[in-house]
Each structure stands twice: as C-alpha cells, then as structure tokens.
Subunit: 449 residues, 2 copies
C-alpha cells in the first residue's frame, strides 16, 4: 500500500527456506505480515519462493500461499529461481553440505546455525569469500539482539578488550528460578522442560556447549581471529549447588552462566562457565530466558545489548535483518545501500504527530489536601465522573511531610490509563476544590512492558 | 603491522575534520591509536588530511602529525583531497551551510550534530540523496551506543511499536543523584556543573530539548516518517520535586527523563518528559550519565541498548563506525562490504587461545571444614604461600547449614585475582588437609567493570 513505485519496480529478493519448523514458519509469517514495511526499508520486496519439508502435508499453509514446497532441500540449493538460501535445518552434517552447495551455486546464505558455523565456520566463510556471496548469521547468536551487527559494524572504531554474555536462555531461566525460588538444579530443569524453556535432551544448553558455539563466533568478530570453538573452555551449570547461589547473594553477587572472551597480552581467553557477577550490574539483573551481551571497547567503554535470545519470531527478526542487508546490497546506488532514515526516501509516510492532549498514559498525581472528612470522596468522585480509575494510592500524614501545616496531608495516586486531555479537565475541577491546597503535581507513568 | 597488503594497497579514505574540540581530537586520537585494527576491518585506511580550528596554535598536535590545519572550515568542504567531512562544529547555522556545501561538492558527511539534523534534517537528507552521498549520524544519538544502526539495520524485520530512551546523560545524572542522595534539583545541578556533567548553560539538557532532538531522529527511523522535532512535546526536569522521587520509590517506581515515541492507530506520539518507570526494569536501573534505549518490535519483542551517551571517545567511536561504513561501501566487491567475521579475510590474525590454567580471574571458594581452632589459619596460610589474597569472607555456623554434622562449618571466600593454575595447586594442598571435609567448590568471579 505504502510501497513506492520505485521500490516495487525493483526485482524481488527470492528466498528458499531450508526447513519449515518453528523458525522457518516465523520467517514466513513475519515476512508476510510486515512485507510493506520491510519493502520500504529494503527498497525491494523479499519473497519466499521455495521451502523444504520432509512432511509435505505439514507444509500446506506455505503451499497454499504459493510457495513451492519440496521434500528435498537439495532441490532448493540448485534451483536458479532462488537468490538466497535460509538454512534452518540445524546440525552440522546435512546442513554443512547444503550450505556449501548453495555457496558453490552462487547463492547467498543466511543461517541461524551456531553449531555449524562454530565447527565449520572457517571452511564456510572461505568458500563464501571465494564465491563472492554473503554468509550472514545474526540469528546464530543471541536470537533477535543485533549483536553481530553491533560488533561487526557498530563498534569498528574500537579495540575490543572483552565481552561477556548471557547467551543461553535455558540456563539463565534455570539460574533465575534457582535463585528466586531457592530450588535445586534438577527440580528447576524439570519445570523448564515442561514450560518449553529446555529441550527433552538439554545437554547442549546445560553443559554450556550452545553458549560456547555463540561465544566462539563473537570472539572471532571481536578480535579478528578465526572461529576457535574447539579451543574453548566449557563448563555448564549441572554441578551448581543452590547453596552457592545463596552465599553469593549474601556477598553481593549473582551467579550467571557467562560466555567470556578477553584479550590479554599473551592471547585470547575463551571460556563458558558459571560466574559470580556483582548484583548491581545490569547483566546480573537479566532474568528468565532473556539474553544480554556486555562489550568493552577502548573508545566506547561499556555497552550492553539485551533481548530475547530464542523463539520463533525473535530469531526470524534476525534472519530477516540479514535478508534486508542482502537485499539492500543489490540496490542500484551502493552509497544509498542503507537509507539515512532507514526507509527508502521515496517510501516515507506522512503520519500525524498527536498533540499531547491525545496521548494515553497512566499518571502519578500528588495532591496537598486538607486533612478532613470527605476530601478523598470528593476527589475520587471527580475522577470517577471522567472515567479515571485509581491503580494505587499512598497517603502521607501531615507529620510525614516537612514544612507544612499540621492539618494538611499528601495524597499520592497512580491512575490507570487515560487520555491526557480528559485527565487535565478533571484536574482543573480538582484544583478548584477548596480542600486542595497547592498545585496538583502530575507525572506520566509507563510500564514499558 | 597486521594490515594486509591487499587492504593497504587500496586508497585511503581521506577525512576533513570541521572543528577540533574534544570530540574532534578524540576522533583523531582513536583513528591514530587503532589505525591497524580499523584498517583490517574497513579494508582500507582512514586518514585525517585536513582539520579546521580558529585558533591555529591550539591545533599544533594535529599539525605536527601532518594534518593540514586551516582556520576556515569552508576551505575543507571545497578541497578536492577530502572524501568525507566530519562536522563537529555544532549549532544550526554555520554547520548547516558547511554540510550543504560539502554535499553539493560530492562529499560524504558524518556528523554528531543532533540539533542540526532535528531542525534541518529533511533538507539535508534530500540534498544528500540527490547528490548520491551519505549523511551518517550515529554519534548524534546516544553517543557510542550503535542505536541508529540497530534501528536502521538490525531491526528491519519489525514493525516498531514504540521506543523509550534515557538519551540525555546530564539529566539522568541529576535524577540519579536526587534519588540516591535525597537532594533537590538546584543542589545537584551545581554538583553536575562542577563535575562537568552539565554545561554552564544547561538549558538544552535540563529542559529536554537535547533529548527531543535525538528522539525526533529515532522516531523518523523507527516509523519511516520525516524528522518532526517541531511537533515534539517537551518537558524538562527543572520542576521536579525530590519529594515525588521519594513517593514514586515507595510505590515501586523510579523517575527518569524519557524520550518516548509510539505508534498508535491515529498517529505517532513524540514526547520528552519525566516519567515513572517500574523499579525492576533495566531502564530504571540505568544510573549516572549513562544512556539506554528500549525498542519494542512486533517480531523481536523488547530489546535494550546501553552505553555512554556522551564524551569524547564514546562519540568518536560512533563517528568512526560511520566512517568505516563509508570506507567499506567503496570496497571493490559490494557483496563483501561487511566481512563475515568483521575483519577482512586477508587480515585475520592467528592469536593463541589461552589454556584455562593461564586465565587470571577472581574466585569464589566454599570449603566445608571442621569447626575447630586453627583451621582458618591453616587454609589462609596455604593461600598466602601461593600469593593468593582474600577479598571477602563469610562463615556460616553449622546450624545454618542443612543436613550437616554439628561440628562442621562452611567457609566462603572471595579471592583477589590469581592465575587459575596457581589457585588449583593451592586448592590441591587445601583439599588434602584433614580438616577439609568435602570437595572444595570453586567458581570464577568477574567484576565486569
């Protein structure tokens, strides 16, 4: 609808999905749902033309949408109608063959397969370099967080000194639960499995292997060294005692499974293990299945990147970001590959900015009132008449409040969401009440959830 | 030294610095200090060839380094030896003229000037588009945090729903101090000024104008709309009462100056104001002069970006990231613009990965010991002999520890930094002591500061 004639006239980027599981389906769903917005950014459309699934019947939704579904992914990597292959099969054998074949056939590859790149990255990146194609893997590390882009493009000025990350959601969920509920590892692992946060065979996660795969990739990018997963020191959380989590807390620390890579004068440290982190660090406060990576650069200092490290749509977000990068490279003017304002200049949309009176928000109100009967009823009556409901209230007696008369009190309220104009009208009425003794303080409140 | 023959044979990107203040000097310093690493990433070197400063004498360090220093920045924007102009003059008049002249002369522009782009962005981006040059401005928003890149490239799959940021370090420092020390605004402002966190005329910061400049840029990129600073609703923190910070805290909230832009069915919200945020959110825990931006996308969910929002080197980090982007665009193969592993394939450095025994770390130790005289002296004696010093200790009496004999106790220690191999040798001695009754638990500890 908004896509410009210029953008839509460019040839689409044609995509083949190797594997239609949770992530593959999400890639298709997000590309479909946001196709207009994505085209406006990329300067051309991105279309799924082929997809593979052993069970053809299960791929009916894609087939119904016009995608050519095949049982054998090898059919995709050799099909001339495919520009980019998205590898979501997993594992390091079949996936490796398919990726190398796709590269040999001149196709770009986008993959979420950390194990593949951690173990065969050198071979695959070499092949891609020689073939002049892109192998992109934002989705392989920390799900939807654009940490590969940050390291590879955002922090290029820096000599990176170290990075440390919570890069496995399963183990972070388990550690969060062990701490907050005082439970032991085995009990929480069962909960995590029943909630889908841990797989039936959780070995790769709980033994730290998955984190080490991701760490090896980040280390290579941070320091300009080859991917060296085989040299990583790896410890998981299976031996971690709940008692140590408690003692650590008493000393002001939390225990997280961290991937750490550090540059020291004699070489590089590359290690995954449980680690005490001061409780006041943001990283220590990353809870549940969330991921976060802290990067220390000599110019920028400390930066941190936080978000969902797994799941269909967060992973699809990263896969599609890589696809947009590939699509943009193909645009006519290399210099305008990435538009200054993210969207192609001919695809900007004039959208009204709302006046503040039309903004809907929750509010904090503080009223200095006479400490007499009926005051609260009056106030809440005015608010109720405007449809404004109270979420929480605090009353502070006169003796709590410095420098005021003895017969005054502070009423502090949090409202539910209301249009600002409506609230301000109600507050004008309230301000006029003789029992309201000072200008009402009004602040906005956002849950940011 | 490490720069490859291939990289060094490509022509350098030649840079003209308009203004050599704190940021300009830092750009020069970081480019010089990290030139090897930056060239390995960019595929070519980035050289400062010209710089302008009214006071020529003060520019002596650059002149001594071979930079052609001129008094009039207009000499730079018309000089054929300059490929990219870095505008660090500030303001919206002279800077606007210089940027438009540079664009007209076919030069790319990198700027940290949020006011300029917030007020004249439409004109400047139009001119750049027509001239086929890049105008890059990562440094204009949130200092060294690569938030522009995240929004413009990292989250392109998403329909962005809202973003909220602490994007002014001065006001966040003031609010942090007001809360932690219970002081009022005027008192803390004076402290901030004496520490250099607030300028002599702090109006733009404390009235929210600086945050609104940055917010208008992020809003445009997030939603594909023009830069609309003139329509932003702006409130600062000058009217904020310390009492409301205390009441908010009692209700479970902290007050931050936020820039918020949100997509709603009828348009876009664009507003800067003090705002209550739940205390448990990471954003609420961003303290001092640090910045952070939370972005909510429909596929990725919540992501957060954190780092230093100001200062010479953090800002230089962002300026140079933009320069590397420009340098990479000029590389021969568009497809390899950004190398898969960040560094050019011919510029990888083989660096040893250290064995874990050579890693230096601090440690948490838990020892189950006999509760008798001399035990602690024995233990600390062994540690001291290996040069291992204790940072903190916790002793838990037998009755605190579930399921153990009455004459046992837990000793928990934090060590200072020590080589792991050295520690493990000492622990082998300790483990052999008859008073040590169970395997010693050893966990690593990182301050991440």
């Amino acid at each position: 609808m908004h896509s410009s004639s210029e953008a839509s006239s460019r040839s689409p980027l044609r995509l083949g999905l190797l594997g239609i599981g949770n992530v593959g389906q999400s890639v298709f769903d997000v590309l479909t749902r946001n196709q207009d917005e994505i085209s406006r950014r990329a300067g051309r459309s991105i279309e799924v033309v082929m997809a593979s699934r052993r069970n053809l019947a299960a791929a009916k939704p894609l087939a119904d949408a016009g995608v050519r579904v095949v049982a054998d992914p090898a059919d995709i990597v050799r099909d001339p109608s495919v520009d980019v292959v998205v590898e979501l099969i997993g594992g390091t054998t079949v996936a490796r063959d398919l990726v190398l074949q796709a590269i040999a056939n001149g196709k770009h590859v986008v993959t979420a397969n950390k194990a593949l790149l951690a173990e065969h990255g050198t071979e695959i990146f070499d092949a891609a370099h020689k073939a002049g194609v892109v192998v992109a893997f934002e989705a392989a590390v920390a799900g939807g967080i654009p940490i590969i882009k940050a390291l590879r493009e955002g922090l290029t000025a820096n000599r990176i000194q170290w990075l440390a990350g919570i890069i496995n959601g399963t183990t972070n969920f388990i550690l969060s639960e062990m701490r907050s509920k005082g439970l032991d590892f085995a009990t929480v692992l069962k909960t995590a499995q029943s909630l889908g946060y841990a797989e039936a065979d959780p070995t790769f996660d709980i033994e730290g292997v998955d984190a080490a795969h991701k760490l090896a990739l980040m280390s290579a990018i941070a320091f300009g060294v080859p991917v060296q997963f085989d040299k990583a020191h790896i410890e998981g959380i299976t031996q971690l005692d709940a008692q140590d989590i408690r003692y650590a807390e008493q000393l002001g620390y939390r225990i997280k499974l961290l991937g750490i890579t550090k540059r020291v004068p004699t070489g590089i440290e590359l290690r995954v293990h449980p680690c005490l982190v001061p409780s006041e660090r943001l990283l220590a406060n990353v809870e549940g299945a969330m991921n976060a990576v802290v990067v220390q650069g000599d110019a920028v200092g400390t930066t941190l990147y936080y978000g969902k490290g797994a799941g269909g749509e967060p992973t699809a977000s990263a896969v599609i970001a890589d696809l947009v990068d590939v699509a943009r490279v193909g645009n006519s003017s290399a210099l305008e590959r990435v538009p200054a304002l993210a969207f192609q200049p001919d695809a900007m949309v004039p959208t009204p900015v709302l006046p503040i009176s039309d903004v809907v928000s929750a509010y904090y109100l503080r009223l200095r009132v006479s400490d007499e009967a009926g005051v609260l009823a009056n106030l809440t009556g005015v608010l109720a008449k405007s449809g404004i409901s109270i979420d929480a209230m605090l009353q502070r007696e006169a003796h709590d409040v410095s420098g005021q008369e003895g017969n005054q009190t502070d009423l502090v309220m949090l409202t539910h969401e209301v249009r600002e104009g409506t609230l301000d009208e109600a507050l004008a009425h309230i301000q006029a009440l003789p029992t309201v003794l000072a200008p009402v303080v009004r602040l906005r409140k956002e849950e940011l959830a």
